[in-house]
Symmetry: C2
Subunit: 295 residues, 2 copies
């Protein structure tokens, strides 16, 4: 009997020794997950060959990351975000058929009970920032409009803050709204141009970013959850392609298909129609939903 079959540790057989202990796992899925985690973890350790000091630094980093979490802050999600793991899990769970709009991460600032508003409403409640008009269509993958699609939109303001981060400063539900399409599948609403903003960078994850020479910023974007009966729900963003951080989103949320041109408009007639005082930003972006089960 080989030494590892007796349960004794050897460097060469380290994975088999450890995973061999899980034969009585209560759950087949957990057993499978722990087999992969153990194998990849041992592969990483064998490739890195950490010193005892480096190993202890890793232990203390993981400990601090857990201890930075509280009711309002989830530093492990942040770590997952900055290592691209959140986007990878999102991608794996949201593989779309050809032509359908791509997903990206939900983020921590969605609010469940935003108000349903009439099409064309202004979601900016405090008149702060540069006016913006956003319009487009909700389509299926054959290009047909989807009626009764529900569009839940939220965004940061012109200083890069969501309402929930500035309670008492921004009005409640500022820059949030829910819209429902008619038979033409069209949507439009008014807002202000959002600004890039940093993820929380005063904790262990921010320190790691600093040591890696990385900044903590997310490029300006609008969040969407789009639902329609018979279609896969789409959770995504659209991004300003001219944002200074568009090629270096700290959480890797940008996909090429999520770039939406933000056009600066000098059009007094349209400005008057929208109730804007002068020049404004104009975004025209269609979203394509996949039918349930469509691949």
């Amino acid at each position: 009997m080989a030494t590892h079959e007796k349960g004794f540790f050897t460097e060469d057989d380290s994975v088999a020794v450890v995973t061999g202990r899980n034969i009585n796992a209560r759950d087949e899925r957990l057993k499978q997950v722990m087999e992969v985690i153990t194998r990849k973890l041992h592969e990483a350790v064998k490739e890195i060959e950490p010193t005892q000091d480096e190993w202890m630094q890793a232990i203390l980093f993981l400990t601090r990351t857990g201890q930075t979490c509280n009711e309002w802050r989830q530093e492990y999600i942040l770590l997952s975000d900055v290592l691209g793991v959140s986007m990878l899990v999102d991608a794996i769970n949201n593989r779309k058929p050809s032509g359908a709009s791509e997903s990206t991460v939900l983020g921590p600032f969605h609010v469940a009970d935003a108000p349903e508003l009439p099409m064309g409403a202004n979601i900016c409640l405090d008149a702060k920032g540069e006016d913006m008009f956003i319009e487009g269509r909700i389509l299926d993958t054959s290009g047909k409009p989807i009626a009764d699609a529900v569009i839940d939109v939220w965004q940061a303001n012109d200083e890069g803050f969501y309402d929930v981060q500035q309670k008492g400063i921004q009005p409640d539900f500022n820059l949030r709204g829910i819209f429902r399409t008619g038979p033409d599948g069209r949507y439009c609403f008014r807002a202000v141009k959002p600004k890039y903003y940093p993820i929380p960078d005063d904790g262990p994850v921010g320190q790691l970013l600093g040591q890696l020479g990385r900044h903590p910023y997310r490029p300006a974007h609008l969040h969407y959850i789009i639902k329609a009966d018979g279609y896969e729900t789409l959770t995504t963003h659209i991004f300003d392609p001219d944002d200074p951080y568009i090629n270096s989103d700290a959480v890797f949320g940008v996909k090429e298909s999520l770039l939406a041109k933000f056009n600066r408009m000098h059009d007094p007639a349209r400005a008057q129609e929208y109730g804007f005082a002068g020049d404004f930003w104009d975004v025209d972006h269609d979203f394509v939903l996949a039918r349930k089960g469509e691949t």
Copy 2:
């Protein structure tokens, strides 16, 4: 330019997108370590294909593990232990030349200032447990005795507790001692037979062990740190091969070469010589130190 070269996320290029951000890392070693960690983490996620719920369970497990740590408890070291990572890091940092004794993990119960005792002393200060006599030699890899080797030994008692776990119940420095070899390289001391014991299993790591159908026990052992001028310091255990958990140490500390026969002796003459009341356990185990730089 490929989409990932613009910093945009794709599932296929996820590793390149993330590690490509580290070009300005302040430290080459950190950059290398994070490249391996990111690559292996993404490989694991791609193989596991976690649901969003499973991903959140992992986030919450890591969070709880950090939050279980305090001044007295390091749950992340425990996690490293039960996944075999601590033993792997120990193995990588303590590769020994042929014939030298193998290392194993230090564990959390070493105390820096144990008393130096005369050879043959009894380290059991409360007369609890079954008497044991331990002897052997400290040798170099050519079989020559090493003089002035310093042997730092510590162990759990007959109920599986270290003195530091039972302050006020066990005497201070119970079952600890430091011995120094003479020209013959021989050592001997008296003690009691240690018992197996559980690692702390009331936290997230204990729950994980339970879900994996694993017990939390470490088989009975004695700890050693052996130092001698000109030789690599050896941190190791010896184990009782007849222990019920010898093939399933919760932290994978057992190596075949660390098994030391624990012989039950009925020898009234020797018992009288050692001051033992009757039958006793006898262990004869040599340790072989590698010269510094010897490979």
